[in-house]
């Protein structure tokens, strides 16, 4: 299964490298949203709860773009037929897609977080960077797990572009609660990671539940 998943993942990353469709769009979108927030809030620099909230809302909205595109190649170019005809474990498809989404999200954050620090953030981010990276990694696993499942659920519907955000964003509310609450003390300038362990534990629980659930249930989405 690992080899199959790796092969599908390699194919997806190669397509992304050649077409440059998802990640640049997500990064551009994130920077645009920062600009929107600058004008919408009429603030030059942010800190604390407001900064954490804006950072997480932007990441979640950018993730919607990638989730929308995740299975489109398969759907439009007939890749599904190939995958279904091949004697492979369906779970490998899910693992590959979720991993691809995870990598896209990490690349997005590689652009979005420095851009956020540069454009909007009023406090120095460097001392809090290790904690922020840890939070983002754990949150991204959950995001990718839920995102790949929602992408597969929505790809066969007539109104895919409408279904994805409506389905994905409520499912990600726990991620934004935990992510924003854990990030908030890091962005106040005071270096007290208050309650960080508890939020990381909760995000870990969220990741575990949705990874296991998706692996168990994904077969039924490609079952024809």
């Amino acid at each position: 299964m690992t080899r199959t998943a790796l092969a599908i993942l390699r194919k997806d990353l190669r397509i992304e490298l050649r077409t440059r469709e998802s990640v640049p769009a997500m990064a551009l979108f994130a920077v645009t949203v920062f600009v929107l927030f600058h004008f919408g809030l009429d603030r030059d620099s942010l800190d604390g709860a407001l900064a954490a909230g804006i950072l997480w809302v932007t990441v979640l909205l950018a993730a919607v773009l990638a989730v929308n595109r995740l299975f489109v190649v398969e759907r439009e170019q007939g890749g599904f037929d190939g995958l279904l005809l091949a004697p492979i474990d369906r779970t490998a498809v899910y693992v590959a897609k979720a991993t691809a989404l995870l990598l896209y999200l990490l690349m997005l954050e590689l652009v979005a977080v420095p851009a956020f620090a540069l454009l909007l953030l009023g406090v120095d981010l460097l001392p809090a960077l290790p904690e922020l990276v840890a939070i983002m990694l754990v949150a991204d696993v959950g995001l990718a797990a839920v995102g790949a499942l929602v992408a597969a659920l929505a790809v066969e519907t007539r109104a895919r572009d409408l279904i994805v955000p409506l389905l994905l964003l409520p499912l990600l509310v726990p991620v934004i609660i935990a992510g924003a609450a854990a990030t908030e003390p890091l962005l106040t300038g005071l270096q007290t990671a208050d309650g960080l362990g508890r939020w990381l534990a909760f995000l870990g629980l969220y990741d575990m539940v949705f990874v296991l659930l998706s692996v168990g249930i994904f077969d039924f989405l490609l079952d024809d």
């Binding site: 659920l153 389905l167 039924f220």
Partner: protein, 255 residues
């Protein structure tokens, strides 16, 4: 759909529901004491909280039914799951409206963000509102049932997780002194609450069975009508076989 008899016991269940609701209202108005701080408006508690519990229970039960559908590959379980979610969404509207009325009366605002149960409920409600758009934007009926079941399972697992997250976020800023349905209700209030909860559960089950019966009957009627229309043309040639065979015969004859 198999030949499950959804209508069995429906009339007895309906009578029990009417009695339970009458008993619950009688207890609420004549037996339960007035709340010392909130006065009469606190009575909405006996509608609001049972409704919320039954709606959440309905969502979770729909998840279990969806698992049964995927395991047994029996479409009738998908229908059960669909009707349970459908009714729970309707109850959910009631929960949000009664919750807002109660909040306005006792705290002065239509909506309060520091009441974790209410906030969690709103998030769950928003998620389940996507069930119908998702379901009905898939054309193939078999795939529709499968995808709807996957949604019902994922959302059913999401309900407790979401409650934990919102509770954690609130516990952070507002320590919670007493739980909503906790053990510190006086005896008369607790009895009234339990009867109201039982009545609401019965109401849910009755409506659920009623809608299943009606959907099942409509489906049977549609099948009979199709068979009747086709049978009128093709009866001499294709007597006794199902309606699919005459349909195929008609198609090949016309082409």
């Amino acid at each position: 759909m198999t030949s499950a008899l959804f209508g069995r016991g429906l009339s007895a269940l309906s009578i029990a529901t009417v009695c339970a609701i009458a008993a619950a209202f009688a207890l609420v108005f004549f037996y339960a004491p007035l709340d010392a701080d909130q006065g009469f408006i606190q009575k909405i508690f006996y509608v609001h909280v049972p409704m919320a519990i039954v709606a959440l229970g309905g969502f979770m039960a729909a998840g279990v039914m969806a698992i049964l559908h995927l395991r047994r590959r029996d479409r009738s379980w998908d229908m059960r799951s669909y009707v349970a979610i459908h009714l729970s969404i309707i109850l959910g509207v009631g929960v949000l409206v009664t919750g807002a009325i109660w909040a306005k009366a006792s705290w002065g605002h239509w909506w309060v963000w520091d009441e974790p149960t209410l906030v969690s409920f709103l998030i769950v409600f928003l998620l389940y509102c996507t069930y119908q758009p998702l379901r009905f934007s898939i054309e193939d009926p078999e795939r529709q049932a499968r995808y709807a079941s996957v949604f019902a399972i994922v959302a059913g697992a999401f309900v407790p997780l979401n409650f934990i997250a919102v509770r954690l976020a609130e516990a952070y800023t507002h320590p919670r002194v007493l739980s909503q349905t906790g053990g510190n209700l006086p005896g008369e209030m607790r009895l009234t609450f339990l009867v109201a909860l039982g009545a609401m559960t019965l109401l849910f089950v009755t409506l659920w069975k009623l809608e299943l019966t009606s959907k099942h009957a409509a489906e049977q009627l549609r099948k009979l009508r199709v068979r009747l229309e086709l049978g009128a043309d093709e009866r001499p040639a294709q007597s006794g076989s199902g309606y699919r065979a005459p349909a195929a015969a008609a198609r090949s004859a016309s082409s």
